[in-house]
């Protein structure tokens, strides 16, 4: 192309046109970024440097009444290793030492770790798991190990942590201490105290905060808006006492193992306040081991058996249809009612016995007769009486899953002509161990029904936010005279040699209570399936009771034994024994003043001598050896003694400057 002005101009236009198009393209794109997608990108940019943080509150601790930790939240660490970031020199130099240290800490051969690291290195693994569930102190140790101390970039040390709930007592009282878990759907599983008080006290409130990224991977809060301070959970102080709990747990475990029972529970409650001091629930695994499976004491409503005779007795005494001296004929231990027979556990019965004795020997026939004969025309009177005493009501515990008591009313489904007779000794009704215990506690408490309680205080640091008092739901469940009679009868069960609980009798401390041996799975009339519930419930000491206690053991091995007094009684007794041995016997004495003039005189002399500042050796002749040695040694002399008694000779004379004396020898006789 010839170089003409026109050609040059054309080229120029072409270049200018292309440039224009290019800049137009940029303008369009700019417009698109700024205006169309602008807000989206802005948000994205902000996201890199600013973020809304949710601040998890610390969950409160759960304490026992004596200040021991039952549940606490602690961080647990997971240690991983980035095998790629470490330089070859560092890797070779520190690896054996690191493997050694880890081996020492986790008690494994160091070759195990050496292999693990080499393999991770060969595979270029940047996230190799080293250890999991490490507590803080071990984490600090691992962090200071060779290589790891170099940090994340040079040493390949990676840590993540999460907060977990720790239960220092382990499996002891696990069901009652409980836990709170939340799943992805936000559904909470709440067990025991930790669950029951989670929402109200322990959990705390989440905080929110807008933060901006700054150096060292930290985030700095920005702006004054969007601030919600997290509120840490409150501490909950329960009523449990870990020492009593410990005894209860091991006593129950021992009996369950001995009788190969299916499950059992113990509850110890303070009589006056209703504070539950110990609650232990153990269930059997297939391997024959026991662990806190379910909260039987709170949740399992079952036929109480003979322990219910106390309720029948009180109802009958209150209605004045009998007295403790009323005599019943146990009819050779068989009492026929329509097509059913009430049997006594003793073959042949007990002959004609007063009610007081019938209670002590736990005669089913006498009780069936007492209730059936007196209430058959007006069964609702008995049921109303029982309802007045609150038998049909739940206790109203904070723990979720309290079992429902069952008390039928005449005409209800299942009520029949024999219902009264069977109810008299604890069948056709149903109660949880804790409900039974609360009733017995009312008797121990002279008739005042105290609501059992598991929580004593809510605290924030050392400040008490809320205190839970004693809740007396019924100041008197029956008349004072009935209470007194019932107390005497409960005492006799253990005290009298004919009582079913006499095997537990101890000379040194007193107990009062009632045995129960109840059949279960009897409907099928299959002797193989027939099992027993052995229980013992009562209080101690028998006069002025301090604690009430119930022990229920389900399905003991019939070959070993099944009577309430044998199976459950010993657990009750060890609780009583423990309480007895841990409360000191206080003997108050007035000091007797011995008047002895000679003694007083010599003491005054001695006292006068030791009060002086000595520059010279004092005269100790005539002083008792004990006093003389103390006196001279206090001055700073070395004393040698020969013989016993009073000082007759001193090797250095009175008046010698003590600075010149090294040793002084005393002769005593």
């Amino acid at each position: 192309m010839p170089i003409t002005e026109k050609n040059i101009m054309n080229r120029l236009y072409l270049v200018a046109g292309v440039l224009f198009l290019f800049s137009a393209g940029i303008m369009v794109k700019l417009f698109d970024i700024q205006m169309v997608k602008g807000s989206e990108y802005k948000a994205l940019a902000l996201n890199k440097t600013e973020k809304m943080f949710t601040i998890e509150p610390n969950r409160g601790n759960l304490y026992s009444a004596d200040g021991s930790l039952l549940a606490a939240s602690v961080p647990k660490y997971e240690i991983r290793f980035d095998a790629k970031t470490v330089s070859p020199e560092n890797f070779e130099a520190h690896m054996p030492a690191l493997a050694d240290s880890l081996g020492m800490l986790f008690q494994r051969p160091s070759s195990h770790y050496l292999r693990l690291f080499r393999k991770a290195r060969a595979n270029g693994n940047r996230y190799k798991l080293i250890a999991r569930n490490i507590d803080y102190l071990d984490y600090v140790r691992i962090k200071s190990f060779p290589l790891f101390e170099l940090g994340p970039y040079k040493g390949g040390f990676i840590e993540t942590h999460k907060v977990v709930r720790e239960y220092p007592l382990g499996k002891m009282a696990a069901r009652s201490i409980g836990y709170e878990r939340v799943d992805e759907k936000g559904y909470y599983t709440r067990v025991g105290l930790d669950g029951a008080f989670g929402e109200r006290y322990l959990r705390g409130k989440e905080g929110k905060r807008l933060k901006q990224k700054i150096a060292k991977g930290q985030w700095k809060p920005v702006g004054l808006d969007n601030i919600i301070e997290p509120e840490d959970g409150k501490d909950v102080i329960s009523t449990l006492d870990i020492n009593i709990q410990d005894i209860a747990h091991h006593a129950l475990l021992g009996q369950l193992e001995k009788y190969k029972a299916d499950h059992g529970c113990v509850v110890v409650m303070e009589t006056r306040t209703g504070e539950i001091k110990a609650i232990s629930n153990l269930g059997r695994t297939k391997e024959g081991k026991y662990y806190e499976k379910l909260n039987y004491a709170v949740g399992e409503s079952h036929e109480p058996g003979s322990t219910f005779k106390l309720m029948s007795l009180i109802a009958a005494l209150e209605d004045k249809v009998v007295d403790t001296s009323t005599v019943f004929d146990t009819e050779r231990g068989r009492y026929r009612l329509y097509d059913r027979v009430v049997n006594d556990s003793k073959w042949g019965g007990y002959g004609k016995i007063p009610l007081s004795r019938a209670f002590a020997v736990s005669s089913n026939t006498a009780f069936a007769k007492m209730i059936h004969e007196n209430y058959k025309t007006q069964p609702e009177k008995l049921v109303n009486r029982l309802m007045n005493m609150g038998i049909h009501k739940k206790i109203g515990l904070p723990i979720i899953g309290e079992g429902e008591p069952v008390l039928r009313f005449p005409g209800d489904k299942g009520w029949s002509g024999v219902s009264l007779a069977w109810m008299s000794h604890g069948y056709e009704i149903s109660m949880t161990p804790l409900q039974t215990l609360a009733f017995y506690n009312a008797i121990a408490n002279d008739g005042a029904y105290v609501q059992p309680k598991l929580i004593r205080e809510v605290r924030e640091g050392n400040r008490v936010l809320k205190r839970f008092g004693t809740n007396i739901t019924n100041p008197s469940i029956c008349s004072k005279s009935t209470v007194k009679k019932a107390q005497q009868l409960l005492k006799d069960v253990v005290l009298q040699d004919y009582g079913t609980g006499h095997g537990l009798y101890s000379e040194s401390f007193s107990m009062a209570g009632k045995t129960g041996t109840c059949q279960k799975n009897y409907v099928g009339k299959d002797p193989d399936k027939l099992a027993y519930i052995s229980s013992f419930v009562g209080y101690f000491p028998a006069d002025e009771p301090k604690y009430s206690c119930i022990v229920v053991i389900h399905e003991p091995d019939k070959g070993v034994g099944y009577y309430g007094a044998d199976v459950s009684g010993p657990v009750f007794k060890s609780m009583a024994q423990k309480i007895y041995t841990s409360s000191p016997v206080i003997d108050a004495v007035s000091p007797e003043r011995m008047e002895n003039e000679a003694l007083e005189d010599s003491f005054q002399k001695y006292f006068a001598t030791i009060q002086k500042q000595h520059q010279t050796v004092p005269n100790v002749r005539g002083m008792s050896g004990m006093d003389a040695v103390a006196l001279l040694e206090n001055i700073g002399l070395k004393v040698e003694v020969k013989g016993n008694g009073k000082v007759t000779k001193q090797s250095v004379d009175q008046g010698t400057d003590i600075k010149t004396v090294k040793t002084i020898t005393l002769e005593l006789s």
Binding site: L137, P584, V585
Partner: protein
Amino acid sequence: MSGDAPKNWLFLLFASFLAALMISSSHQADKRVHEIAALNEKVRKLRSEFVEGRSKVQQLRLESSIKNTLVESGLKPSIDPPKKIKVKAEEK
């Protein structure tokens, strides 16, 4: 230089002082954040030390574990309660 110049200089000085103040205070804030992070870490450490220590003591203190450790030496819990002799204050 016109007559207004000193006035402007003064303003410029003030503006740069403000800028310096702003920068320093933002640095202060950053420092605080790091401090808080360090303190939080310390709290976490103390908290877990407390829990670990307390649980260990609790376990050791339990009657059952004391019983187990003492079984070899032949010591057992007493079956009688301790006796306490209380001397009443002397009347003068």
